[in-house]
Symmetry: C2
Subunit: 217 residues, 2 copies
DNA sequence: ACGCAATTCAAACGACTGTTTAAATCGCTA
DNA sequence: TAGCGATTTAAACAGTCGTTTGAATTGCGT
């Protein structure tokens, strides 16, 4: 029951559970799933091996919670921004740029929130996508599919000239470009020798322009 | 020196080296890098553990050769199709659709060539991208960057109204959408309950239309 | 301050990892 | 057919893997 605040031995104020989640996230982002071991996780979290199984059951359930923790947050923000545009009327015709912003910008907020470590997570997400992670697939199907569908429908209303099927495809491709870009964020910004913050804002602005252009009629 | 044709025990006519490359490719596509072991590889290739180290040195060099084998082929085709459009004059203004076709369609050919197993490789490629594979990164930087640059310049000539930087970004996003789509090819086609061949042609057609729209001025 | 539950810990489990070794086998040439 | 280099093989190497165990420790309510 305790789950106490720990100040001893120069450690941060986070609980063991949170430290484990954070170190897992960092290790996946840095070295991928192939090199991920619970021994490295527990070392980086300054805790014991068995603490992981105690708090999460097993390795896979830990990974699942790493994904869920931030994905729930991301999709909640996306949804509420879309709802704000719709203002209670899901049949309202919204500005395309605003819709795309509601989808893309929350990823921006996450990635820029240094303290919350969102940037790290976007790389985790990209890796999980590529691994065809089963837990991610189920999360998408069960929990997030309705939100993605709501965006697709809003885009459909904003672009009445485009066939429904074309909307589906292009939105799919935009998600692909977003995922790819976020996953390669660290690497590309180094290659371009540009401050990360600047490069990041540039990425999102260009991505929104790109998506707008791709959805024009 | 032998490297003989093997007909015994119902085995295919491929050499041990080729069988190892193929089984590695399949295992990466099916279960990702995290579950890849040289024992599984050698079992599937109907050969011995040590044959891998004998023929490739170590596991990493084997993976490198899996990537190189088909990437060399893919970029050779892309390059020759672009050269054909340019007809010796790299300053010639080409049709945008033709340029995009020269970039995207070779991936189509590979993916449709059942015998060569190109479809499998595109999933390997997507996974390697997501893993930020160092060997892939070096291949791209050293060998393929000039070809990608040549495409970017051809697109620049075809879209003179777009700033050079915008071209760079959008081409980057298009590569992202292509990579993402190819990586998720198997999964999505099942979900859509459409014959693979049909779904595949649809994907490429939609992807080219998407890219064209995204590069319009 | 005692007791109990929550948490942490060290140690060990068997299974699997990539690589190396040396012997056995193969296919060609002389 | 004898010999030789190329290839294949079985066996063992030292590590690391995820998980489980039971004991030590912690912190809170009584």
């Amino acid at each position: 029951m305790p789950e106490p605040f720990l100040f001893h031995s120069g450690m941060s104020t986070l609980s063991t559970k949170e430290r484990i989640l954070n170190s897992t996230e960092k290790l996946i982002a840095e070295h991928g799933f192939s090199e991920l071991s619970i021994r490295k996780i527990s070392q980086r979290a300054h805790t014991n091996l068995a603490a992981i199984n105690y708090h999460f059951g097993n390795k896979q359930q830990l990974i699942d919670q790493v994904l869920e923790r931030r994905l729930n947050n991301l999709f909640d923000i996306r949804k509420s921004m879309l709802d704000e545009l719709n203002q209670g009327d899901s049949n309202k015709v919204c500005n395309l740029e605003q819709i795309l912003h509601a989808f893309i910008a929350p990823a921006l907020f996450m990635i820029n929130d240094e303290h919350q470590g969102g940037r790290i997570f976007m790389q985790v997400l990209a890796r999980a996508y590529a691994e065809q992670s089963e837990s991610l697939h189920e999360l998408m199907k069960d929990r997030y599919a309705p939100i993605i569908k709501a965006f697709a429908e809003a885009i459909g209303l904003a672009c009445p000239e485009l066939p429904r099927e074309t909307i589906f495809w292009r939105f799919h491709f935009i998600i692909g470009a977003l995922t790819y870009t976020m996953g390669h964020f660290g690497a590309t910004s180094v290659a371009r020798q540009m401050p990360e913050a600047e490069y990041f804002e540039k990425s999102v602005a260009e991505l929104i322009e790109f998506a707008k252009a791709a959805l024009r009629t």
